[in-house]
Point group: C2
Chain length 246, copies 2
């Protein structure tokens, strides 16, 4: 039997070059910090998240009374409730609520994957739960890195490598694109100390300048949460909630 | 003094996301096999190479009586003199001649970089000579991988990593994009046996199926030639020839 395929699209600009199988599962990852914040929010009881690509869309939701997060270039956009720090998504005020979110790279990566059968949200925080879901579901996997303004970034690629290694624990997977092999090798080099390995990475330094070192360390914690956010009909929900609602 | 920058664009689709400095040197690489063939041709005395993006352009040059190479999906296009095997570019019949060449990925990568101040041709075959030229020239470096149909490929990324490491031998360089750091790490893992490391890579296997193992081994020989092909006004010439002609 042919092994299931794992591909990694290292930038949103490459999505269309990789995407060819409407049946595959697409995992969107933006480690620093959009998808880490999303996983944190679902773990802390948020009901759903509406990812929007532009600040303009976010403003119109805000006018309708929604809780809205907006981040650009690592900072909270003025006038919004929060940005994409995971620590903003732990309080009681989000429990059971719908949140709207726009970020520099992460929500755009979700937007380009629209039209795909199933989009899942990945981060180091939910690595094991996500891998388990993907292994059980009998599909190829395409990991879409959010990158930084269409450029390659290290942290999303390391997550992709970690996920590749997890998926290979199932013998169903084995057909790897070059990008998946590369991501796996990079993770192998980095995994003993992700924080230190990322010392020279551009976005870690961008966040450090904004005094967000706690965020960085938090986003690199592995398999802390068991949520699997899934994007359906324009909205992110937790997988189990989606299953029970359908 | 700020260190000179090295960036790696891992796919032609990412070129515009990286390119922002008209003064930088752009290195185009397509290890299997376009840029390896070009370096081989210059070492064996070809006068100039006109890279064209489409088979149609190649046909019109052929009608004018030029020697024309055309490759698509690893094979010589019917009716042309040669494809992109380096072994086709070693004979006396090319000495002093102008050659026209179109390939699946390599010539397209050159085409997208058009408009840039200086485009240089890189391959393992001319690694040291190229690095020496780039170090002496006081500019930032952007390495453009040809990839495979806009996807990431391993062999071009390994070359990029090898070049990053060579450039870092000069203390002028030190400002690395994440993509350059990643390429360097991959090369570090692979360098003791590039051939073996590439065993699982998609394009190596594509070429092996076409019985091109000799080509693969040849393209992985490091610093065999001292040529530095440079693209000026639509034509590739050898750097020294260009200098003496200007």
């Amino acid at each position: 039997m042919e092994k299931r395929k794992i591909e990694v699209s290292l930038s949103p600009a490459l999505f269309s070059s990789y995407y060819h199988n409407p049946e595959c599962n697409v995992v969107v990852v933006d480690v620093f910090r959009a998808t880490s914040a999303m996983c944190t929010a679902f773990h802390h009881g948020v009901k759903e998240i509406i990812p929007v690509a532009t600040v303009e869309e976010a403003i119109s939701y805000k006018k309708e009374g929604y809780l809205v997060g907006a981040e650009r270039n690592g900072e909270v956009v003025e006038g919004f409730d929060f940005g994409n720090s995971p620590f903003s998504y732990m309080g009681d005020e989000i429990k059971g609520k719908t949140i709207v979110l726009t970020t520099t790279n992460g929500t755009k990566a979700i937007a380009i994957a629209k039209g795909v059968n199933e989009i899942l949200i990945g981060s180091f925080l939910n690595l094991s739960a996500l891998a388990e879901y993907l292994i059980e579901d009998n599909k190829d996997v395409l990991i879409q890195c959010a990158g930084w303004k269409n450029r390659f970034n290290m942290e999303d690629t390391l997550f992709a490598g970690a996920l590749v290694q997890k998926l290979l624990e199932s013998s169903d997977f084995g057909n790897l694109a070059d990008s998946a092999v590369a991501a796996s090798h990079l993770y192998e080099v980095a995994k003993d100390d992700l924080y230190k390995f990322l010392e020279k990475s551009s976005h870690r330094n961008r966040l450090k300048r904004l005094n967000l070192d706690d965020d960085i360390r938090f986003c690199l914690e592995v398999s802390k949460f068991s949520v699997v956010p899934i994007f359906k009909e324009g909205v992110l929900v937790e997988k189990n909630e989606f299953v029970s609602a359908s």
